[in-house]
Symmetry: C2
Subunit: 251 residues, 2 copies
DNA sequence: ACTTATGTCGCTTTGTTAGCTACAAGATTA
DNA sequence: TAATCTTGTAGCTAACAAAGCGACATAAGT
């Protein structure tokens, strides 16, 4: 046995590291039972539920649900024999996928750093949750529009159903209503329509003063009346429209 | 504003990524409130509890406990003014520390891979928890020793208190009792004592057939009667004793 | 046919989180 | 100085998840 292999195997360190490993596995979303079961499988190489329970120190009848949860979380694989056999996904493989996913989230957050900073921008982005509230806010923004209203959404029906009257009134009072919708989707009254097939979120801008961005299912949105933010967003959203093929002129 | 900065700032992607970030932060041990509070602080740069609550969409009175928890978890720092000001630890910094800790745990697990494999070794390591059970097992191992008993521990008193009679009886029936203890620590009857000051875990080997390794506080241990494992451990534990300065001969 | 092994289900207990109200203390304003 | 507002703490309830176990059904082995 090569010396580096002897150095690798160290049950003494294991006793010391065991609770540290449990803490780390807890940190990546496993319960105590799941952590113990996973460690047992790694140490054993593979095993039945009864073996995992015994090695890991968890109750046998609890081990079945524990192992099913581990499987659904991608930590282990199973062979549906009788008794079922379980195999760990290698720690090296899990390290890669888990640290990459966590790293990606922090990278996104890093880009977010200071975005809503108060430096010269007192207004903030408000989180609104709940489809009813979000659709109501869109209605308020439409009613409040005096010059220009922009809407881009992959899910037009809820807005059209609820606010078709408001769209008509806005067009009638001279608001330039610009809508970006998916092909063949019925739209409410408006000044211009653009058709795109790659819409992913609902975006609303009213008079370049207020803006709202909602998830596709309207479950959550960010709303802002921050002039810098809204102005920036308006440029971002409207620039591509000037470069696209001419829109359908309406009303 | 340089184009790459414009690309960085993307509230549209934020709406889409927001729940993904929440999931990832949940994965590294934050509750929903903590995740939302942290995201709000990252976006805002810094803020009061009231601001964090408003931006993050959590109840104001809940935000104090949430922020205190984030602080204790190392995600944010606070300035104890009135009102208190909170600052996020940068996502880049957290990414580094969290992925390193997780990576280290998986590295330890990788070394553990297959250690208890059944290939030719039917016996296993059993986890025993609870000081009483562990001390009782040590007593059983001592009573069962016929030729050689090895004990190394940074915490001798509990074993001496409970098992001094057993040590005497073992020595009297001809068992070679080898003890490794810290300097100046009183030891029970034995054949040889070695003094070391770097002991970290309690290690017991009986006749080269059974072995036990316990955490320093006796809260958890691994016990094995696997001949390969115990034999390997015995070599590991006893080799350094042959190279050390001569032990105190006893009895 | 009986026994053992395997697996599922449902229950209780405990702990955590979400969410809120009540209220005290400090700061600000009139 | 008194009133009001802001900040912060404490404690409560409800919901949910996890720990832990017993009862029991089914499959496999003897």
């Amino acid at each position: 046995m090569k010396s580096e292999k002897k150095n690798q195997f160290n049950l003494i360190e294991l006793a010391g590291d065991y609770s540290e490993i449990l803490i780390s596995l807890r940190r990546v979303g496993l319960s105590d039972y799941e952590s113990k079961a996973y460690i047992a499988l790694v140490a054993q190489g593979h095993g039945t539920a009864e073996e995992v329970a015994r090695i890991g120190g968890i109750p046998r009848t609890s081990s079945y649900k524990t192992l099913e949860s581990l499987r659904s979380k991608g930590f282990i694989r199973m062979n549906e024999s009788r008794p079922a056999l379980f195999y760990p996904v290698s720690p090296a493989e899990l390290k890669k996928t888990i640290t990459e996913a966590i790293g990606k989230a922090f990278d996104i957050l890093e880009n977010l750093h200071g975005v809503l900073s108060e430096k010269g921008m007192p207004q903030l982005v408000y989180t609104i949750m709940g489809k009813d509230k979000i659709l109501a806010k869109i209605g308020e923004m439409l009613d409040g529009a005096t010059a220009r209203f922009f809407l881009s959404t992959p899910s037009m029906a809820p807005i059209r159903t609820l606010h078709s009257q408001r769209f008509r009134e806005a067009v009638n009072r001279g608001v330039e209503v610009i809508i970006v919708a998916e092909p063949f989707v019925k739209v409410p009254d408006c000044t211009r329509v653009h058709r795109r097939s790659d819409l992913i979120a609902t975006d609303v801008i009213s008079d370049g003063r207020t803006a709202l961005i909602a998830s596709p299912d309207y479950s959550i949105c960010g709303y802002s009346d921050n002039p810098f933010l809204v102005g920036h967003l308006e440029v971002f959203m409207l620039s591509p429209l000037h470069e696209a093929h001419p829109p359908e002129a309406r009303s």
